[in-house]
Structure formats: structure tokens, C-alpha cells
């Protein structure tokens, strides 16, 4: 996962005004998956076959990157991942009324813009105590172009 330093920093900056949860899902680049990478092979990170494996790999991430953000583990049914269409990684911000204020694009392209959008939202919220208005148009926060997925052939 990218940008872990930013995530931890954002957590430290805003944990007094918002809840943070990392939701650990199935691997983006498992050695035996569709998108393997070399270091996954080296570390023997394969698709999780049980909940314990998923927890172990999650712990690796937290330990190595020294993350203190609370971490939840998605069930092996991948239900929350699917509900949020989150794989491989994705940033969301839920307002106190349960509505999404940030729903970034999936994957590396949307992740950092998503973190930035969340940071801006939180900065405003922390300063003013008010939740920013939702944007008037259909454009998503943190996603630079709508319907780009629809343009895919």
C-alpha cells in the first residue's frame, strides 16, 4: 500500500475529531494472484486462504510501517470490500449523517487524491466544527474525472 506515512500523519492530526479505521482486505498483489509483484514472491505473500492469514499479513503491514491507526479485518467473505468496491485500495470519509463525503477512485490513481480530499475535509471540520457541504455537482471529491470507468472499452 502506498502513502502509509501520510495515513498515519492524518490519523495523528485528526484523531481527536474523527474516527479512523483501516480495513484490511485481500491482497492487491499476492504472489499467486492476478497482479503479482516481486516482493510478494520474496515474502511469500499469497492470497489469504483463511482469516488467520489475513490477520498475520495485516499485522506485518502495521508493524513494518509502524501504523497505530485502528485496523479492522474484512471477513473471508470479502463482504465489506465488495460493498465498498474497495479493492485494491480506496479512501472514504463518512459524515456523521452516514453519507459519504469522500469516495475516492480505487487503486493508486485515486488513493492520494482521496487522502488529500479527506485531509481538507478534516481540516475544515477541525477548525470550524462544521462538516463541509457536499459538492453540488455529481463530481466526487478526490476523483478527478467522473465516468472515466464508463469510458473503458
Amino acid at each position: 500500500m502506498n502513502s502509509v506515512g501520510t495515513i498515519e500523519q492524518m490519523f495523528q492530526d485528526y484523531k481527536d475529531v474523527a474516527e479512523f479505521r483501516m480495513v484490511y482486505i485481500n491482497e492487491a498483489h499476492a504472489a499467486d494472484g492476478n497482479w503479482p509483484v516481486e516482493y510478494a514472491r520474496e515474502k511469500g505473500i499469497n492470497e489469504h486462504t483463511n482469516y488467520g492469514e489475513r490477520c498475520t499479513t495485516a499485522q506485518m503491514l502495521l508493524d513494518e510501517k509502524q501504523l497505530t491507526i485502528p485496523c479492522l479485518i474484512d471477513g473471508m467473505d470479502n463482504a465489506v470490500n465488495e460493498a465498498y468496491k474497495a479493492w485494491p485500495d480506496r479512501v472514504f470519509l463518512v459524515r456523521t449523517d452516514g453519507v459519504l463525503a469522500v469516495a475516492a477512485a480505487r487503486g493508486p490513481w485515486g488513493f492520494e487524491p482521496g487522502l488529500e480530499a479527506a485531509s481538507e475535509w478534516l481540516a475544515h471540520f477541525k477548525e470550524t466544527g462544521e462538516e463541509p457541504e457536499l459538492p453540488a455537482s455529481d463530481k466526487e471529491e478526490g476523483e478527478e474525472s467522473d465516468s472515466q470507468d464508463d469510458d473503458q472499452r
Binding site: 480495513v23 484490511y24 482486505i25 491482497e27 494472484g33 503479482p36 465489506v80 463518512v94 475535509w121 470507468d149
Partner: protein, 155 residues
């Protein structure tokens, strides 16, 4: 074609927004064309992309997607489409179906059905914490605090 007209501002916007992260939009044709023969070969493209996206390994698919005149190398014009092509390859996995498991179909470019966006109600859920000591129910934060959810994995 509409897509063509949208390409230039789209690429510029992506470049600006991704400047702090992946650098694929920066460094252009000249950087990719290492032997300066006026075209980018498959191996030059692989070197170029690998230097910018360390965990991208769909180089063959990328070349096929970009090499529209099928001459085995990329002209400057073909090269320009690299960001959209990479994003298409990255976003091509139908995450909603199988969450990227090995049973997934590669290259599925169906638009996501029911994709969540700003203004939608966040799906509620309850999940256990990593240490197993607690559970989090998203609904418990309603009217209490906003919640930042970061989905991801080690790799």
C-alpha cells in the same frame, strides 16, 4: 471522437493531481525514448513504466493497448495515451465480483455497478479488530463522529 478531445485536459489534470504520487505523467516521450530513435520500443516502455510504477507488471498488455498501428513500437502520439491505458489496466479488474482473487477475470472493463460516490449512504458493517479484542460497527458513529475508512493491504 469525444474521447480524443477530452484526452488532453484529462491527461493534464491527472498529471497535476498525481504529481505528488506516481510520476507517470511527468517525464515525457523524450525520457522514454532512451536510444533516441524517435520511437519507444516495448523494452523502453517497460523500463520507463517500471521506473515510475514499481508494482505494475502488465507491460505486454500496455504495449498492445497503446500500439494502435501495430508496428511494434510507440510513436509520440501513441505514447501520449499511456496514463489512460495504465489506468484502464489497473481499473480493469472487476473488484466487486471477486475482490481481485485469482478467480477474477482479467481485463474486465465493465463499469462498476452501484459504485459508491459522494452523497451515497455509506454501507454499514461490523468488523472485528486485528487484535480480536473489539468490534467496530460503523453505525455506532452516526451522529457522533465522522469516520475515515482506508481500505488496503500489505502488497
Amino acid at each position: 471522437m469525444n474521447k480524443r478531445r477530452l484526452m488532453v485536459p484529462y491527461v493534464l489534470l491527472l498529471t497535476m493531481l498525481l504529481a505528488s504520487s506516481t510520476a507517470l505523467g511527468q517525464g515525457g516521450f523524450g525520457e522514454a525514448d532512451a536510444d533516441e530513435d524517435g520511437k519507444v520500443s516495448a523494452s523502453e516502455m517497460e523500463t520507463y513504466v517500471s521506473g515510475k510504477l514499481t508494482d505494475f507488471d502488465k507491460h505486454k498488455e500496455l504495449m498492445e493497448a497503446l500500439d494502435t498501428d501495430k508496428d511494434g513500437s510507440l510513436s509520440a502520439e501513441e505514447f501520449e495515451n499511456r496514463m489512460e491505458a495504465v489506468q484502464g489496466l489497473m481499473g480493469g479488474v472487476a473488484a466487486g465480483d471477486d475482490s481481485g482473487s485469482r478467480r477474477g477475470r482479467r481485463g474486465n472493463r465493465r463499469p462498476e455497478e452501484g459504485a459508491l460516490k459522494v452523497g451515497d449512504v455509506a454501507p454499514t458493517f461490523t468488523l472485528k479488530s486485528l487484535d480480536g479484542d473489539s468490534e467496530t460497527d460503523l453505525a455506532e458513529f452516526r451522529d457522533q463522529k465522522p469516520v475515515v475508512l482506508i481500505f488496503g493491504s500489505y502488497t
